[in-house]
Symmetry: C2
Subunit: 328 residues, 2 copies
């Protein structure tokens, strides 16, 4: 019901998603009356797409704690709760990130042995993709938190890469660089034989693909992710303006257009939509607030993939087998 | 003598710089024998460019504290010291950043009333430029440090803008977002009537130009700066590859080339080279380690501008007039 663009996007994404994958059904959680009145719902195959009525909703700018306390009839609450009732295997929302995290932690619980869940997202890099976590769930982290993020990132990345290389985000690669938390985390990662640890990585190397997973605290990850978005948007605007500068430029634009469009699709944030709340006992995925249909479908694909890969259970097994204790 | 490319770049930049500005002379500080043997030095106007002999040098990967203790005959030490001897008004180096900062603080001293210098750089944005500080001098900052950075940034930006708008980098714009340090800094900035404070700004908005100065701790600034560099390089590579994809693309490349070159120049890091160590009693500017001639000239221009604008004295006057005390 929420997101910047309202339920319309989720409805059309659900249709596309069920049409693409024969192994999925979708429950739309929201105001039933409003959903049934929508022309796009009328076109849906109601065999594979059902509606779960929710009388309330969480606003995009609502305080997460307020939502947690007072929005037990919201679409967000009921959608997450449907996982506990075994009505669904995964929940995807384009709503309020803080509320989603708070409700996710409260309803789905954190995996035993793990201190804090983290938000993780795939970024396009020179070859393939790199997982970056945490992207904002934890403003302050301990070295043990970062260590646990590394183990979770490894499990997520190992779906496509048997021995993913893990990097630790820092402002330099020398041993003297960084905060005490990062230096201690470096030791923990170095000493964990489960991990293919590649050492420190600076933010200008995120896109080289030399690391498959990059671990950082939520503040740093959020800055990196948003700087990347801002830079890309800034350059795209400059390039667009360049192609409009004179008639020759317009001619070049016409010629190169199909390829530039292909490049834009390749680098499109929609292609990398779907941030996972790793460390919860079920699959919960955040779609960007202003996701269009394509982007929302991508977030649904991320959720489906994690259900197939059994990510929460594999994280749980990893922490049971070799716990990471907090040293204090 | 240092930098990734050695003295050659500094020599040719000195020539270009003195040829462009009639009001500057340059002292090349380095191994005299080696410099005199260089073919580019032979071509210089020795009336305006002199040599100060230095028998030692600081390596790019040398530990800053080691350099501070043991490199008193290095080109870096002597170049900075020349400011204290009134031989020069500003020092520019492409050498080891940590060593330059350590020597700068030791030899030039921090402005009274200021706790810590900060590294500040202009970034290209949609309209004009935005100053970002700190970019790595201080891994951990107090709210008072950030407040002092804001005042320094304001003075630097006021050369081109009478009432620069100051933003505080955060992971959200809501009052609940961020670390305790940032929340307290927000209050300090809000309550300082000297500052045109625009509130929190997220990293995806750095390039919109809505702020003229963006304040952050050195870790966050370094991540933002380097993510921006990495993203730009990644996109540039992708675009280059696109223009080589087939003969039509190559044709488009030929047509659009002059304009793309113009755009590249406009966004070129060289155009924004020259990071200032704000808060020292003299003008000290860091040129990027791998600066080419053009970039090094830009760093020299930044230094000249700060001498003309009398930046250190103006910062000193500001802190004398209205000190910022550390609350503990």
């Amino acid at each position: 019901m929420s997101g910047d663009l309202g339920p319309r996007v989720a409805i059309s994404a659900a249709q596309k998603f069920t049409a693409t994958f024969a192994d999925v059904d979708v429950i739309l959680v929201g105001n039933e009356q409003q959903l049934l009145a929508s022309s796009s719902v009328k076109k849906l195959s109601r065999q594979r797409i059902s509606i779960l009525n929710a009388t309330d909703l969480v606003a995009m700018d609502e305080d997460p704690l307020h939502a947690l306390r007072h929005k037990k009839n919201s679409s967000m609450w009921l959608a997450i709760e449907s996982l506990n009732k075994n009505l669904a295997d995964a929940c995807v929302s384009a709503g309020n990130t803080g509320a989603l995290l708070a409700m996710g932690k409260y309803l789905l619980k954190t995996i035993p042995g793990l201190e804090r869940p983290a938000i993780c997202k795939a970024m396009p890099v020179e070859q393939g993709q790199t997982y970056l976590l945490d992207l904002g769930a934890n403003t302050n982290c301990t070295p043990e938190n970062l260590h646990q993020f590394a183990v979770m990132g490894k499990i997520l990345a190992s779906a496509t890469n048997s021995n993913p290389r893990i990097g630790l985000l820092n402002i330099g690669t020398e041993a003297t660089k960084g905060t005490d938390v990062i230096k201690t985390a470096q030791e923990l990662l170095q000493n964990d034989s489960r991990l293919n640890f590649g050492g420190y990585i600076e933010a200008n190397k995120i896109f080289t693909g030399e690391m498959d997973v990059i671990v950082c605290d939520g503040f740093h990850g959020n800055i990196a992710l948003k700087t990347c978005e801002g830079t890309a948007r800034f350059i795209a605007k400059k390039i667009q303006a360049t192609f409009k500068q004179n008639w020759l430029a317009r001619l070049a634009a016409i010629i190169i257009w199909p390829l530039l469009k292909q490049l834009r699709n390749e680098l499109n944030p929609s292609m990398y939509n779907g941030a996972s709340f790793l460390g919860l006992q079920k699959v919960l995925v955040k779609s960007h607030g202003n996701s269009n249909k394509k982007a929302f479908v991508q977030a649904l694909i991320v959720a489906r993939e994690q259900v197939i890969q059994n990510v929460p259970a594999r994280i749980q097994a990893e922490f049971l087998a070799q716990p990471i204790f907090h040293q204090q």
